[in-house]
């Protein structure tokens, strides 16, 4: 009973795959996912089945009219026939979703949240910096680097004026 109703729905083509008599047990129930499905995909332009399966009376008469010459079909009728067979046009299925805006918004939000976490950490988690960061210590470090003539050609010591004991202008 269920099988014959399904048969009317999907047409002859799917019949052989959907009804199988197995050793006197009757007909296996046909699952939805085993039947051909409709999908809008750019890389497979012609799906296995039409989009609209239950045709209304106007659509049925339109289908009859389609069997004749197509020159007499009006523009609206052609579009109606297209919409019977397909759900979305290529332009509709390909158009962007604007999802990237949500993604970028989420990125900024979480970067901001991370900034808050970092600030809290600085206040409540980290201890003092070592004594080597004191200004006096740093001054002694710089003096020692200049005494050792670190990078005297193009780098550190090249910028120090040894005659006048000052940075070069």
């Amino acid at each position: 009973m269920l099988a014959t109703r399904v048969f009317r729905l999907v047409g002859n083509r799917a019949l052989s795959t959907s009804i199988c008599l197995r050793g006197g047990h009757g007909v296996a129930k046909v699952e939805d996912y085993t039947l051909p499905a409709y999908f809008d995909r750019r890389e497979s332009p012609l799906p296995d089945i039409k989009f609209v399966e239950q045709l209304s009376p106007e659509q049925k008469s339109l289908k009859e009219k389609e069997k004749g010459t197509w020159a007499v079909l009006s523009k609206e009728e052609k579009i109606a026939l297209y919409r019977i067979s397909f759900k979305e046009s290529f332009a509709e299925m390909n158009k962007g979703t604007g999802e990237w805006k949500s993604v970028v918004a989420g990125i900024f939000f979480f970067i901001g949240f991370t900034g808050l976490v970092v600030l809290w950490q600085r206040k409540y988690v980290y201890g003092d910096v070592p004594h080597t960061f004191d200004p006096e210590y740093k001054q002694k470090e710089v003096q020692r680097m200049l005494d050792m003539r670190i990078n005297p050609v193009e780098g550190f010591s090249a910028k120090w004026d040894y005659e006048n004991n000052a940075w070069k202008k």
Binding site: R144, D147, M148, R149, P152, V153, E154, A158, Y162
Partner: protein
């Protein structure tokens, strides 16, 4: 309405014909730019530094500053 048959072969060759000379030229430009912006000035800087470099004077200055372990500053 019959469209022209699209190109079926030689697509990579066509692209290479166009892009390889450009790539070659840009690489040469990059190399030349690096040479004249970085290496030549650097060579000149080293040449200038060592033109009037008195190593003994520098050594003594460093010795007085006390950075060596093999020689102590003069005096005391």
């Amino acid at each position: 309405m019959s469209l022209a048959k699209p190109a079926m072969r030689g697509l990579l060759a066509k692209r290479l014909r166009f892009h390889l000379p450009i790539a070659f030229g840009l690489s040469l430009v990059a190399a030349a730019a690096f040479k004249f912006a970085v290496t030549e000035p650097r060579k000149q800087a080293y040449a200038d530094f060592y033109k009037h470099y008195d190593s003994t004077k520098e050594f003594n200055a460093m010795r007085e500053a006390g950075v060596f372990e093999s020689v102590r500053p003069t005096g005391k």
